[in-house]
Each structure stands twice: as structure tokens, then as C-alpha cells.
Subunit: 591 residues, 2 copies
């Protein structure tokens, strides 16, 4: 496996030149202390930790995996050192509230750190990643008492966090969960039930684990409106945060999975475990969605990280491995054969990877910037617009970055031929690790329903407007060198408008329409948004190329993207326009 | 994991109603003894073996894997019994020459057996599968002496076979192999070199293993025109076929892979091993391509088998698992939730799988029929036409069935949500096992080069004609119920013609064009061919539905395929028409 190298120049280009995030920071009072130099220095610190400590051990960690015996989980041998260095660097609390020791960095910077960590080792990234999500939820919904006790220790990485939602019979459909919470005389609750697929539910990295658990109070209304959220620690801390009595929550087993072998996926049994209500009774689902929405961009970034790592490996291999002869102009007759990279099909695969990776990085940065505006702007209107964009873009970030991430990792494996199928090169691990990101935190099908059903149809298309405005703003200033590509994007936007209108017209009369075309619709919007970001990058790069040769490829990759990948929207639009009909011809016995 | 059930009705429908293969058999003197009843009885025998013996053990075999120690490979515990029953049933020699004990069955029947075996357990299927390919090559090219000694024992399953092509530095590019063959005084050759990725290179299933090895004679011309083929047994048999002295070919190690864990992928070291020339000196590559071409349809069928198995599992899960509420008309209010299968997106995934699986089965049957005509017809013109179709369809069969097979297995995993990522349900194993089929026996990129470069461009488009004639023959007899779909197929064929013409126009002036658009081109032809087969199936099924309710779904699935999957050709055509330009903007330093 090639050494992992963080794309520092690309990150700088995005933050500084494409998105000008320092101009935001200068305006936002809470971010007044952040500047570009500091942000890039922070990215560089994360990069060194990832390149030198975490990435080199990821392959061995996959082989070693997590072990389970007598209720205890043992993580791979290098993980304790990984986690120690990560916690010492303050990375667990990178976006957390400074009141509790967090760095309080903008999301647009932490999004880069997250990609770097995921590229280095997705399995490892989940331990701090889930903790960061739990921190945000507790900060937003828990009582001051719980916050004072838990947040400093989670933010420092002394304790980790989990989210406990899924039960054996209830995954996507949380309305039918059975876990129960009985009120106790001391104001706490006794939590009972079985939760499955709990990432980091048990491990040996920290002295305590803090579970955020969905359960039903005795007087809960039926369905998803009767779910409450509870904080349940593995060990009950005293008022000073010293770890005390063992709580009645135990890991019953761990899952054996396709990938993320070094991440502990636990069955957690709650047997009257002591817990505390977080937020209002029966309001657990909205609170949990705070965490879910935070995680969803994070899961998208997992797909990006896997794809980015795979690209670094595949590029090096394609440059080094000689096999066959290229076209006359590219031949290296002094060698036994030419390097793979001269071959058109290898270039197709590499450029598809590059377009998805750098497009995905631009997308996560775009969403990160909007999250920061929504959180930090002093202008309500600006915050509301950013909130709307985040609502629209979050399901796309989760699903489209992971779907294109899987395609990229599969291509990165294919470039290696048979060596890509063998474990030692690491390319197949990236496929296996990436695959889960399409499934958890709400499957990509569920993301698509959220996008088309709740967001687009739910707003009668209004929620699409901020994105379309951003695209139109770019299209309003065409660039001669990219005239053809501007035209392609203009056509694509028209297609989005007509397809959206068709779907909206059908919604009233066809109950099945949203669920029948949602995935293709999400892909349609995803491809067009990547097209927008590629043209925005190309336009920005064009005048800077002379002094920064790295940027020479931006215009070229944009042209590739528009010529070879954007046309996929034609087939997607045709499928969407067909509606639900062809999915409901089959009776149950016809399958 | 659901029990594997062989789709007997679908196989019967294809053989009897769609392709009328019994009418071929009646005409071909060598197949005069085969009839439909016998063929279906044979399929049923294979089905029972697969359902009762092989499939139930596949999950455990994946967990156990193959073990390597002291030069020996140990296969999973149930494999010896699997192989014994398979050999006793005569399945290893299912298509082999009756002169040496083979069943001599038509390929159109053995294609069904192969799918059944692959669906049951791809890892296991490779041991007899490679042997069958070796048998054909020996039968066609080896001396009578070698044939008499080796073929009866390989055909009976007493010995297995391998193909030894790849070396550490030479995979796709066999012209640069370094293995050597030194002529010996007794007419044999001393073979030296290292071969990698040798499937079944060593194992404990049989008393002997027969390697077919590519190596260079001392006077060999450089490149691919200097390669010869040798037969190198693990143990040197005496004239009566009794296994004697150990030959100097040993397994140095086995690969640790993403999947097919129970298939031994070996590094084979030849240290002056005794071998015999097969065919003419320096003519090894054409001989090996006999085997490769046989294997390529077989590898396509691996993708089909994995997808077919995944579909059986996913359908059962989607019917049993309740989660969420469907549209009003589909609700089952007495239950806590509705079964997954009521949801549009689940139906989209299931029907995509179904369309690829049944389309792939029709495709492998179509190719199988042409292979039989090419081999058995008494009319030269008919043989030549079938040969041309086989040449065109073989790379599509290998690449398109495995590419759509991977998509199907990924969807089959997605339908299970988190449970699809967990090993115990078996869906993730099918993804991992299917993935290799896109890589070995010539990567799918190489198949695409073969199709567009050698076959289509190499014949100035002439080789496409028999396929287009078959499609036009169908289009000439439209059916009212399928009027829209006939029109769609007609448009798709026009698109093929215009895209092909565009590419052919560019070939002379652009050395990179073929390698730059080949994969999209193969997919274009693949989707259109599946469209043709779906309409052919629908047209055939329509009048039979009343008496065979199973066929009710054929027309419906055809409509789904044309509406939701065929439109992908639009994006493919746009990408192909862009040519090579956007792939060659990047200098090496731009990646």
C-alpha cells in the first residue's frame, strides 16, 4: 500500500480560493480568532498524525480486528496509542464548545480533519467520530448538570460516546422500538432493552463510555412520537467525574462484518441500567436527529476518505506498474512495457476517481461552510438560507458521496487487477470499509426519501431554490475557456427543473411516486451539484495556474467530469420521469 | 441465509419456449440422443446436488477458508464430499468428449448447471470449472498420447486441472512472461518459473493436479508470439495412469483475498518440472485462448450465480421483514409494520436484481446455444454465423454479466440494511465472491478492448451484424401489448448504429479512441442485448401466462427493464461520443 499523503494543496485551494471561508470568519464574532494560516496549520497537524501514526497501522488493524471475550472488547494493538495521540491533540473536541474544553473550530475545517482521519483508517475514526456527535447532542439538549459532568471528559477524549437506536426488529423504523425507561425516585430512569449495531458500544480505549439511548417512557404515545432520549454511562461517575459503580449495560456480543473489522459493532443489553433523560419526554427523535444530521455529513466523508485513499494508491500503482503498450506517442521503448497510466481505460478509471474525490471534497467543504454560516452568522436571513441549504444538502452528502465513493474504491481496486483482490495491497479493504457508509446512519435509500419526500416535495420545491441560486450565480459569469461546460451545466439545471416539476405534479395523485424515484432523483441532484462545484473550481483555478502548477489539472478534470460523468443524468431523468408505474406492475407472487 | 432454490421453471422456459434448443438437437447428428425431457432431468439432478449438498455448506466454507502449511493446501471440511458427489455424478466432464468418458452435453444445458453450481458456492465451483477448461484445451491441442493418459482421469474427476498464465510482473501483458522450457532428450521439457494467482494450484481434493503452463522455449521470438503451452502434472503418472514420482512444481504460498476464501489461489514454483508440449511451439497463446474463451462465459456465469443467489435471499427477506408503512393500498394494519416489499425503493432494488438475473440467464443461454450451433451444426454457414456471434458475445458475457452481477449483489446486500453487512446472512459474501469475476480471466476492461477493438473495429463493424439481425428479426414482429417497449428497443438499436459509426470513423486518426471508450461501449451493447432478450422473453411468455402463472412476471419485468434500466444507454452514448479527448488532457504530473 502506498503511503497516505494528505492533499494539503487541494484543501488550501478549497478553503482559501474557492470558498473564501476566511471572509466568513472575519465577519462572525465567535470565529474572529480563526484565520487561514491557523486553519491550514491545524490541517497540517491532523495530516501529520494521520500520515505518521494512524494510516500506517490501518492494514494491520483490519487483519487483527476487534476481539470479544467475557463481555470485554479488545481493539487492535495500535489503537490505544492512536487514541491517546488524537485525544492529546484535542481532536475529539475539534468542533466542540470551548466552554467545556472544545477547540470550537468551524465545521469547514473539521470536515477536512474528518476526511484525513477516515482516509487514514475508517474503523479507528468511528471511536472519536461517534463521540463528537454525542457531545453535540448533549450540549444542545441535556441539563447543565449532565453537561458539566460529561462534556469536559468526552471533549478531552477521556470518555467516548455512542448512539443506541437500532433494535433487532427495528432499524429504519424507530417507531416500533421496545426499549423501556422506568422513572426512579431519584429522578433517574431504569433503562431496559436490547440495542444492536452499536458502534463503539464496548472497547478498551477509555475508562468510560457514554451511551445515548432511545427508549419509551411508560406513558409514551405509540410510534415515533413516543420516543425519549437517555444518557446511560457504562460506569456511574461521582459528582467529581471519578468513575464509580458499573452500570447494568453490557456488551453481549460483537458482529462479524464485511469490513470495518477494527470497529466494535456491539449488541448492548440494558438491564435496568441507570440513565438520565436528555431533553423533553417523547422528544427523543428530534434530539437524536441532531446527532444523526451531524453524523450524516460525517458518514459521507467516510466515503470520501476511502475514495481519496484508494486514489493515492491507484495513482502510484498506475505510474509504477508497466503492462502492455500505449499509443505510439506515449511509448517508452526502453522499458519492457509502458506504465498503466498511458492506457485510456486506466485514465478513465483514475479520472473518475479523481473527479469523485475532489468533487466530494468540494461538496463536504460547501456543506461545512453552510453549517458554519447557519451556526455563526449574525444575520438571521443568512442563517436561515444556510439552514435550508444544509437541510437540502445533508442527505445528498451522506448518500451521494458514499455511492460515488464506493464506485471510486471499486475502480481503485480494478486498476490493480488481481492484486486489487488480494488483501496485502489494501485496495479491497477500502471497498469493504466504504460499503458500510451506504448503509448506516439511515440507508442511502432513506436519505433519498428524506431529500425528495421531506425536503423537495415537502417544500413544493422551495428548498431547492438556494442551491439553484448558487448555480445560477456561477452560470451568470461564464468563462470563455469553459464555454461548452457552462452550457452543459445550464442544460443540466434545466433538466433538474423539468424533472422536479414532473415529480411534484404527480405527488398528489400517486402515493408511491416519492419512494419509487427518490434514489435516482438524489443521484440526479448529486451529479448536477458536483458539476456546479467542478465548474466553480475550474473557474477559480484558471487564473491561478501559472503560479500554482498543482491547479493545472482542475480545468482538465472539470472538462472530463462534464464530458464523461455528468451525462449519466440523462438516464436518471428518463427513469424518474417513468414514475412509479413500472415498479407496481408486479403482484407479490410475481417476484 | 435463505435456502437456495434453483429456478427450474425459468430454465425450462428459456430452453424450451424462448430458444427451442430441442429443435437444434433434433437437427444435429451428434446431439440426436439429447431431448428436452432428458435435459430438464439433468438440470434437476444438478439442482438437487446444489440445493442439498453444496449450497448449505457455502457459508461455513467461507469462514473456514483454505489453509496452507508445509506446501499443502487444506480445503474446507465439506469440500471432499462435495467433490466426490460431483465427480460421481459425472459433472466434471459434463461437456467433455464422450470418447474419454465425458457426458458430451450441449453447452446450453451445462450453462444452467454452471449457474446452479456458482449460485451454490463460487469457491467450490472453481475446482471442477478450471478442470473442465483444461479438458477442452487438452482435447483440442494435445497429442493422442497425452489425451489418452490425462483426459479419462480428468473427465472422471480423479484429477483436476489448472491454467498457469500470470507471473508477478506479467498479468494482462503475457508477452513479457519469463517462465522457461528447456527441451530434454526424452522429448519432454524442463519448466522453470513462478506463476501467481493459480486457482486450485494445490489442494487436497484429488490425487493429482494437471497444470497447463505458458512458458518460452529457448528459441522463442520476443513478445506474445513466442509463448508455448505445456502440460505439467503434480505427480508423474506411469503409462497406466498410476500416480508416481512427485514433479518439481510446488505451491509456495496462497493469497489472502477479499473473497472466494475457500478457493486456493496459489503461487506455483516450477523448478525444472517435467512437462510436455501441448500444440505447436510458440502457439501457446491461441491454445490457451481456447481455455480462456471457455472460461470467460463461465466467469460471466459466476456473476450470474452470485446475483441469482442474492436475489433468492433478498426476496425472502423483503417478504418477511416488516419495517415502516407502505402506501395506503398496501398496508397491513394488523401488523406492527408492513413488509419491506411494499416500498417503492425496495421494489426498485428487487426488480433491478430480477431484471439482471433473468436477463443474464437468458444471455448465457443465448451464448450457449450459439456455442452448440458452432460446434455441432452440419451446415458450415450456420456454424460460421454462430462462431461470429460467439466471438462478439463472449467478452460481453464475461464483463456485462459480472458488472451487473456485482450491482445486483450490492443491491441484495442493501435490501438487508445493516444485516446485509453482517457475515451471518451471507449477502456480503456474495458481493465479495462476485467481485473477483470482474477481474480474473482478463479484467472487464480487457474484455471491452476485445469487443470494441478486435471484434467491432477489427471487422469494421461486420461482427455486429448477426446480433443486429437477431434483434431486427424480433422487431419485425411487434406485439401490441409491448408496443412502447418495441419502440424503445428500436430507438436503442439506432443509437448503437450511430455510436458505432462515430467510433469507427475516429479509429484511423485516433490511436487512443478504442481504449478510451471501450468499457462504455461494452455496457451499451450489453444493455441493448438484455433489452432484446427481455422483449423476446416477454413476447414468448405472453400467450403462455394463462397456463403457467410463473410467466406472468416476464412481461412486467420486461416493462420495468425498458423503463428504468435501458435508459442508462443515453449517458453511455454521450460519454462514448465524447471520444478520447477528455482522457488525454492530463499530463502525467496533473494527476
Amino acid at each position: 500500500m502506498a503511503d497516505y499523503r494528505v492533499p494539503r494543496e487541494d484543501i488550501q485551494f478549497l478553503l482559501q480560493d474557492v470558498f473564501h471561508v476566511d471572509q466568513d470568519w472575519a465577519r462572525f464574532s465567535q470565529l474572529a480568532e480563526v484565520d487561514m494560516e491557523m486553519a491550514l496549520a491545524i490541517v497540517d497537524e491532523a495530516a501529520k498524525l494521520a500520515e505518521n501514526q494512524i494510516a500506517p497501522n490501518a492494514r494491520a488493524a483490519d487483519e487483527e480486528g476487534v476481539k470479544f471475550a467475557n463481555g470485554q472488547v479488545t481493539t487492535p494493538q495500535n489503537y490505544k496509542e492512536n487514541f491517546k495521540q488524537l485525544a492529546e491533540g484535542g481532536w475529539v473536541g475539534v468542533t466542540a464548545n470551548p466552554e467545556y474544553g472544545g477547540m470550537g473550530l468551524p465545521k469547514v475545517v473539521s470536515a477536512q480533519y474528518e476526511e484525513i482521519l477516515c482516509a487514514a483508517d475508517i474503523s479507528f475514526s468511528l471511536y472519536p467520530g461517534l463521540t463528537a456527535g454525542a457531545i453535540i447532542t448533549i450540549d444542545q439538549y441535556a441539563s447543565d448538570e449532565l453537561k458539566d459532568l460529561y462534556l469536559p471528559r468526552m471533549t478531552s477524549g477521556q470518555w467516548t460516546g455512542t448512539m443506541c437506536l437500532t433494535e433487532p426488529h427495528a432499524g429504519t423504523d424507530l417507531g416500533i422500538i421496545r426499549s423501556k425507561a422506568e422513572p426512579q425516585a431519584d429522578g433517574s430512569y431504569a433503562i431496559s432493552g436490547t440495542k444492536i449495531f452499536i458502534t463503539g458500544g464496548e472497547h478498551d480505549l477509555t475508562e468510560n463510555i457514554v451511551h445515548l439511548v432511545l427508549a419509551k417512557l411508560p406513558d409514551a404515545p405509540a410510534g415515533s412520537k413516543g420516543i425519549s432520549l437517555f444518557l446511560v454511562p457504562k460506569f456511574l461517575p461521582d459528582a467529581d467525574g471519578n468513575v464509580g459503580e458499573r452500570n447494568q449495560v453490557h456488551c453481549g456480543s460483537i458482529e462479524h462484518k464485511m469490513g470495518i473489522h477494527a470497529s466494535a459493532t456491539c449488541v448492548m443489553n440494558f438491564d435496568g441500567a441507570k440513565g438520565w433523560l436528555v431533553g423533553e419526554p417523547h422528544q427523543g427523535l428530534p434530539a437524536m436527529f441532531t446527532m444523526m444530521n451531524y453524523e450524516r455529513l460525517g458518514v459521507g466523508i467516510q466515503g470520501l476518505g476511502a475514495a481519496a485513499r484508494s486514489y493515492v494508491n491507484a495513482l502510484e500503482y498506475a505510474q509504477d506498474r508497466i503492462q502492455g503498450r500505449g499509443a505510439k506517442a506515449t511509448r517508452q521503448p526502453e522499458k519492457e512495457a509502458d506504465p498503466l497510466i498511458v492506457h485510456g481505460d486506466i485514465r478513465r478509471m483514475l479520472l473518475t476517481m479523481k473527479a469523485f474525490v475532489e468533487g466530494g471534497r468540494a461538496f463536504s467543504t460547501y456543506v461545512g461552510q453552510q453549517l458554519d454560516i447557519a451556526k455563526y452568522s449574525d444575520h438571521q436571513q443568512e442563517r436561515e438560507r444556510a439552514d435550508a441549504l444544509v437541510a437540502l444538502l445533508t442527505p445528498i452528502a451522506k448518500a451521494f458521496i458514499t455511492d460515488t465513493g464506493l464506485e471510486a474504491t471499486i475502480l481503485g481496486q480494478q486498476i490493480f487487477g488481481g492484486h486489487g483482490y488480494v488483501r496485502e495491497w489494501g485496495q479491497e479493504q477500502l471497498v469493504r470499509d466504504c460499503r458500510i457508509a451506504q448503509i448506516y446512519e439511515g440507508t442511502n435509500g432513506i436519505q433519498a426519501l428524506d431529500l425528495l419526500g421531506r425536503k423537495v416535495a415537502g417544500s413544493r420545491g422551495q428548498l431547492l431554490q438556494p442551491l439553484l441560486e448558487d448555480i445560477q450565480a456561477l452560470l451568470a459569469e461564464p468563462q470563455a475557456e469553459l464555454a461548452k461546460e457552462y452550457e452543459q451545466l445550464g442544460e443540466a439545471v434545466k433538466l433538474v427543473a423539468s424533472v422536479t416539476e414532473q415529480v411534484l405534479t404527480k405527488v398528489a395523485a400517486d402515493e408511491n411516486i416519492v419512494n419509487s424515484v427518490a434514489v435516482e432523483y438524489l443521484h440526479l441532484i448529486g451529479y448536477v451539484t458536483y458539476g456546479y462545484l467542478w465548474l466553480r473550481m475550474a473557474k477559480t483555478a484558471q487564473p491561478l495556474t501559472a503560479e500554482r502548477p498543482y491547479l493545472a489539472s482542475k480545468v482538465k478534470t472539470a472538462k472530463f467530469y462534464m464530458a464523461r460523468l455528468l451525462p449519466r443524468i440523462q438516464g436518471l431523468a428518463a427513469a424518474i420521469n417513468d414514475g412509479s408505474q413500472s415498479l407496481y406492475l408486479h403482484e407479490l407472487g410475481d417476484f
